[in-house]
Symmetry: D2
Subunit: 228 residues, 4 copies
């Protein structure tokens, strides 16, 4: 088992939690509150814009030109709009994707996740710290989707099944590259440093759990004094 595989192993309990949580279970059955999907698409649009920025901040600390080219492609993919998967949700809602994401949302859980990634790309010269904070995103989507495709509860007549189909394979190349980079960049790390990278990975997996939950509950900042 290489280092990245141990991270993925340690994240399984949280991924189970994500799979069993309301958002994914209702997505699976093709029966989820439209407002939950609106919130998800809006939060995801803000999240992806920052994800592209963090990919860009990683470029100067990439070990070789090949990984720079890979990041450039990823940025291009994002800034040109990761359309397909979002369109299925927009169709389910019955509204135009671009109109849905006109409204910007920045809930606490999304804020924490994004600042977790920014902190690691700003504070650490070794890209492994930030990549470990980013890698759970594609990995969680792929694991959820692969599990859903084999789940008898998957409502194949719902357009939302296509969301799972999309992530069933789409993320695999990205996961492979990010895993290779994490293995390469942690090869000479001390155990203390590796544990910090592991902590980043597990924290981001928890952030994925919170991200879906944030959308499901339409989480907002409680500046009015209500319990957060």
């Amino acid at each position: 088992m290489n280092f990245a595989e141990t991270l993925e192993r340690d994240a399984q309990p949280i991924i189970d939690e994500i799979y069993q949580d309301h958002f994914i279970q209702e997505l699976l059955k093709g029966d989820i509150k439209k407002e939950a999907l609106r919130q998800y698409l809006r939060a995801d649009a803000s999240y992806l814009r920052e994800f592209a920025n963090i990919y860009a901040l990683l470029i100067p600390i990439m070990p070789d030109l090949e990984s720079v080219r890979f990041l450039v492609d990823q940025i291009q993919f994002i800034v040109n709009g990761e359309v397909e998967a979002h369109e299925y949700m927009a169709d389910y809602i019955g509204e135009n994707y671009n109109e849905i994401v006109q409204k910007k949302v920045w809930p606490p859980s999304g804020d924490h996740y994004i600042k977790h990634m920014y902190y690691n790309v700003y504070a650490h010269e070794n890209a492994a710290y930030a990549i470990a904070a980013m890698a759970p995103c594609p990995y969680v989507y792929a694991m959820i989707a692969k599990r859903a495709m084999k789940d008898p509860n998957l409502n194949k007549s719902s357009i939302l099944a296509k969301w799972f189909e999309f992530y069933n394979t789409e993320m695999d190349p990205l996961i492979e590259v990010l895993d290779d980079l994490m293995n390469q960049l942690t090869a000479n790390m001390s155990e203390t440093e590796k544990n910090e990278v592991r902590e980043n990975y597990l924290q981001s997996t928890v952030h994925e759990l919170n991200f879906f939950n944030m959308a499901y509950t339409s989480e907002k900042w409680q500046f009015g004094g209500e319990r957060v």
Copy 2:
């Protein structure tokens, strides 16, 4: 009302929430779980170390030498140990402060608060963004303490009453300087930029609420898959 005063006005509902929350109410009555205070002291020790780092990162973007000297004094105050207030809590617990904080904790709410401040000092050249993320800390402590000193429920026979006495006046000079800096540094900002600074201030006030709550509940990262 200047800009800083409007931030303090908008934060009142959250400060009320902090005052009414378990941690402060039990501190007030001099009857709080020792483990809650241990967690608070440990989390606060990690928090203060990062607070000093963020003060340092602010130095190159300070408008004048006078504010640089002020930050240097603040860093010195922190790295030499803000002893007094912590000692009252350690006495209440009946253990040595330095032994209590030997154990490092880094719960999710503390992580979010610290990365919120780091993000703003790394991402913004105008120091107002980061100062607005830092200023609620002294302001909340001062407001809580001044209110407690007039609260009939304050158990004056408890050593914890001294904690309120300490923060009743100790933070005032710091609050004044941070308010002046926020007023000065936002003077030429657009409304959009001022709202981002306001959002930073209110988010950090919510983080203060979560910080006390985090200590009270011994909040931990749920990597085992339990609900976070």
Copy 3:
């Protein structure tokens, strides 16, 4: 005259100096020491790699997605190798371009130019500072080339004439975008800030003069104690 045009106007005396300097004059006549071109290609290869990094660090501070897409294209152009213009020089030398640039050089003048650009992208949140430190590169090459194409001294039978042909038009779209960005991003600046941006532009134009001269003289760090 917009702001970017005033920068270009103020840079003319330095561009004249570059045009009259040994490197360009001998390039024009198609009669230049091969070692000068080797040094230029080697230094340019290091320079371009960092230029791509600085484009990447600019992405998070771009005003809109369109300028992000533009930067991504520029990075892609560089990391995929700006082959054509270099090949003409390699042909003149009679050696393979990739073999020539295997040897890494990092002379003082190149070091200063690159750290000037990095400083501005790290230290300033407004991208105009860094763009003004980068914009002279394409602008100087275009002005030099357009002038050479009308210069009777241009040795049209030399392959090096193609170098001028390449830069005669190739940089124009890039110059236009960088000028638009500088005009847009300095629109709300104070005169003091605009003068700092102007200083960055003129310093980089001097760095272009030094860059060609550095290649011509095979400039090296004098760690042996000789006069630098």
Copy 4:
């Protein structure tokens, strides 16, 4: 010989060059152009302000609280004005120090030196890179001064002799701490990384040579197109 000692050994040829150069030789004889000292004091004032900023940016990447306290003291020393040594030069000029440094200068050689240090504190998480770019300053001044104190050509009747007296001992504690930090922070580095740190140290020693020369020649940016 530890790592820091090997850097100091390798820098000797450049330090000899500095000692033999016009600025120090004329300072030694107590007979130097007043304008050279004005330029030196002005450039040094800008340089020290940035030096304090870079010390501040180092604080978050210091290995322990003790080195943080050391840096805080250094920043305090600078922002409170490293008066004594400058006063001897001001006396020689016959003008008030603060009036002399009212005029800001930022010549090319000073610009390169400062951006060399900033680049290393921004781009590298291991503080050794930036410390190696900063350590030659106190070391060069101490070596020059200790040599001058034994030099028969030292004009002991000139007030400038006190400048050498000041630096004869004043920098020693600072050199010791910076050397210890460089030894500690490079202990686990690869040979490639150590060579980059060595390169930083030697480049800064050359920058010290250029700094004195810059003052002696009243070096300016040649935006008018004159040869730089």
